[in-house]
Amino acid sequence: MSQLPYSKTELMICVAARLFEDGTTCFIGTGIPMLAAMLASKTTAPNIVPVFEFGGTGAMLEELPLAVGEARTFHKGVSALGICDTMETAQRGFIDYGFLGGAQIDPYGNLNSVVIGEHDSPKARLPGSGGGNDVGSHCWRTIAIMQHDARRFVPKVDFVTTPGYLTGPGAREAAGLPRGTGPMAVVSTLALMDYDPETCRMRLKALHPGTSIDEVKANTGFELIIPEQVTVNDPPSEEELRLLREEIDRQRFYI
């Protein structure tokens, strides 16, 4: 990929940014989601309402926030209360989309960010849920943004931190999670995935330019549904790259 005029990360950010629906509320986690939200707000979704977990709502994203509580998350915002207000707003059904990361994802979109291995004697202790579980529980639709490899796309996550479709159709509702919620998409370094509405299992939707179905399969540790129609995502436009490089992440924290 090195000869391409953009990195995998830049591509992933661009594809994620295009998923933002204008005029919706979006719960934004640390990292790539922040870049995607900024890019979206400067391109196709100027009227998204970013919500950051520690209280910032409706900020104008003029500078890239590096943390979900910092001043940029409520810069010229419409409100700035606290985490309870934000999370309760989500619990009441006011947050349309949640953008998340994780260390592992399974075919039902369950995410792990707690441990690799056994909980009480872990091979690797990961940071923990943070707001991830809450976002996955309460937002209407969630979008995961992940590096794509077989160690991350696993048949069964070591620990279900953030609920996807859990064990399949009806499982969220049976567990008491709000009706009609669940994962919508995964944006990886290789492709865009969605979920089959019948089985709630992950499905390839569109390849990134230069990626093959076989490459995606080889880097996925479970059987991904491959529909007959698989499209190809547009590469980053010149304008998208300019915005990312010259306005959004000038200091290159991520790209």
């Binding site: 640390t30 001043a71 409520f74 309870c84 369950n110 872990p122 529980s137």
Partner: protein, 326 residues
């Protein structure tokens, strides 16, 4: 309304609402008494080995970093700690003073995972990690702040989070839906950094309040550090700005740049170089110790710390602050 599921995590801070009420009755003066003291005095007086302690908000944002460093400096140990942390809990983990965790997130945000957390947990130095989501831990404090034994939520349901927490799942007797009950969390000690406080402890915060309101009302001892000490007349002019009233507060520490290397909304931005220094040094246990030596054990107090940072660098942080719209 029977219990459908019980998390197997330890309730590492059991609670008794009547005992908390009695504490609030007898150990919290309603009088306006001067509570201004130094970091050394506040930590010496109120933080003890084995206590259950928490900090608000987190390391890079309005965090009581000068207090967090003083806790280490005074050799407190076996702490039981709640919450998410960036930097401040890293320092505590590196110093080996944390025994048990009600954990939500400990990491370095933009800079990735925490090597200190990995070393401390994977080695068994931290004896228990009980899992909660960020909202859940805040709601646990909110339960205590409300004076009730639990709050219901639809977070954590259906996941391993519930299993490794100390929450319980029940059926709501009004609608029959399942909810998780989060047990109240009453901290022994809370540390909160604010923009302004008067000498009695009436506090104002600018911008998001994180979980300061909840934590301040959910603890037995509350140490406030403040960028500025203001007059009580100023407090009384805008009573609707007092998010933490004085009677909750045990100590008021004047700590300019108290959140450094983190930011303080409208006052100063984060010190990226300072944060990166920790990110790099904390990758190894030795590096983390060297950092502690340089920035925690080395300087005598917060003033000493600020001398090491230097006024030029602090001024740069002020230049980086977000400004109120003109």
């Amino acid at each position: 309304m029977q219990i459908l599921e019980s998390g197997q995590g330890e309730l590492i801070q059991p609670f008794d609402l009547d005992e908390f009420r009695e504490w609030n009755r007898t150990r919290k003066s309603r009088k306006l008494t001067d509570k201004v003291m130094t970091e050394q005095e506040a930590i010496a007086q109120f933080v003890y080995d084995g206590c259950y302690i928490g900090t608000e908000l987190y390391g890079t944002v309005r965090c009581p970093m000068s207090l967090a460093r003083e806790v280490i400096r005074q050799g407190r140990k076996d702490l039981r700690v709640c919450g998410q942390g960036v930097l401040e809990l890293d320092l505590w983990l590196a110093a080996g003073i944390v025994k048990k965790l009600d954990i939500t997130y400990i990491g370095l945000e933009v800079y990735g995972t925490s090597a200190c957390l990995r070393r401390a947990v994977e080695s068994g130095q931290v004896e228990a990690c009980v899992e909660w989501s960020n909202a859940s831990i805040s709601w646990r404090m909110k339960a205590a702040a409300m004076g009730v034994p639990f709050l219901p939520t639809r977070s954590m349901l259906g996941t391993d989070m519930l299993k490794y927490s100390a929450a319980k799942v029940v059926e709501d007797p009004f609608t029959g839906t399942k909810v998780a009950l989060l047990p109240a969390l009453i901290l022994d000690v809370a540390l909160i950094h604010v923009h302004r406080a008067d000498r009695y402890g009436n506090c104002q915060i600018e911008g998001i309040s994180g979980f300061a309101l909840e934590m301040a009302r959910a603890c037995k001892r509350l140490i406030i550090s403040a960028e500025e000490i203001i007059s009580t007349d100023e407090i009384r002019k805008y009573p609707d700005r007092t998010v933490i009233p004085y009677y909750l507060v045990d100590a008021v520490v004047h700590a300019p740049y108290g959140s450094h290397p983190g930011e303080m909304a409208y006052l100063y931005g984060r010190d990226e170089d300072g944060i990166k220094e920790w990110v790099e040094m904390s990758k190894s246990a030795e590096g983390a110790q060297a950092y502690l030596q340089k920035y925690v054990y080395g300087p005598k107090d917060h003033a000493g710390y600020l001398e090491i940072i230097g006024s030029e660098r602090l001024a740069r942080c002020v230049d980086l602050r977000e400004r109120r719209q003109a």
